[in-house]
Symmetry: none
Subunit: 217 residues, 2 copies
DNA sequence: GGGAATATTCCC
DNA sequence: GGGAATATTCCC
């Protein structure tokens, strides 16, 4: 039994905020949260417990796959009805899938509901801390931000009434630019910290190398 | 009875996304959502129903205030235990309060849990659509950003002639921001190339190291 | 799959 | 009270 999660889908205090990182730019791979996201812990524990052992019919509802490198939802219907509500505040398969995607899991079979994540493996609960939510890292900016940089031409026709409007637009663009600037500055901060770490690493490796060479003389 | 919301706190499909506005920049008050936020509807309906009529002891749990201009949670404990879970996915008073604040309600008594919102009144369910989530409209930027955005605040007194002037200033600031952006982007490009070189260097050193070790065996 | 809105939680 | 992270939902 695992009534430790949601008794009645209430009394739960694991849900939202995670004391991860606070307000620190949080560099891609560098800073590591202290504890895994609640979603990951719940999903892991749910597997350790077999979802709910069995759905009454004797068949498994959900389990690790053969080599523990992923997991399979054998019975989506029972999974939704019996398993999900005991761990989460819903019983929708799609919400569960949405979370899997958010954390970078991949569906690896078209024939059954099997999912994998490099850092989500049987016996490796400690590794969960390595899994982070996908953030929009590569092209940092929301789609609506991209436009503003190129189309400020404002094909103004009716100048009169266009005044207020264009002012509004300018203000908006301005705001977006500032937001963008902040994001760029944060990226730069991250690069700086990354560079520092790389240099440190390099110097350690070289030190290490030298020491060994010396010892062998 | 109002088991129409959360039977077992599940089966609920009203929760999250609201088909309001789509992806349209959504300027302050202009675009009006077609339907009120789920939170507002639930809170309104919960009042129409008296929370759960009474808590068994005969006393009201929650109700409109005298003139219907606000509402009072008479018994927070019962409200959490009995009312909240029937309408929401939780039983935490603080989460309920957080939502009230998000939608701009005000606590109007230090002696009891009474809340008001101009557009939240008994008999005016249609008015709920006017209530919007507080977004970070006024000072969009995190505190540490404010500096630059306010330096040009132009404490506008003489509105008339200030129009053109502020427009001019905005354009200028805009231009500067774009220039700045370009510079930041170039810095980032450099960092990327630097990172690449460092990583390459590191890998060479390590290769080198390995080879030597091997040779010395 | 993933963007984006709302909901819930945690923390100041 | 409100900022910000995670969760849940809706929609493309």
């Amino acid at each position: 039994m695992a009534e430790n999660y949601n008794s009645n889908v209430l009394d739960l205090n694991l849900g939202g905020g995670n004391n991860n990182g606070g307000s620190q730019g949080q560099v891609g791979q560098s800073l590591r949260p202290r504890c895994p996201a609640p979603f990951l812990l719940k999903t892991y524990d749910l597997l350790e417990e077999g979802g709910v052992a069995d759905g009454g019919g004797g068949g498994k509802i959900v389990s690790w796959n053969g080599d523990g490198s992923g997991f399979v939802v054998w019975s989506p219907a029972e999974f939704c009805e019996l398993t999900l509500p005991r761990y989460f505040k819903h019983n929708n398969f799609s919400s569960f899938i949405r979370q899997l995607n958010t954390y970078g899991f991949k569906k690896i079979s078209s024939k059954r509901w099997e999912f994998k994540h490099e850092k989500f493996q049987r016996g490796c609960r400690d590794m969960l801390v390595e899994i982070t939510r996908k953030k929009c890292e590569p092209s940092v900016f929301p789609s609506y931000l991209k436009s503003s940089s190129e189309e400020n031409a404002t094909t103004s026709n009716s100048m009169e009434e266009n005044n207020n409007n264009s002012h509004q637009l300018l203000m908006e663009e301005n705001m977006n630019l500032k937001k963008e600037r902040l994001e760029l500055q944060m990226q730069i901060a991250e690069f700086k910290s990354l560079e520092m770490k790389l240099l440190e690493c390099l110097s350690q490796v070289m030190d290490n190398h030298q020491n060994k060479s010396r010892r062998q003389c």
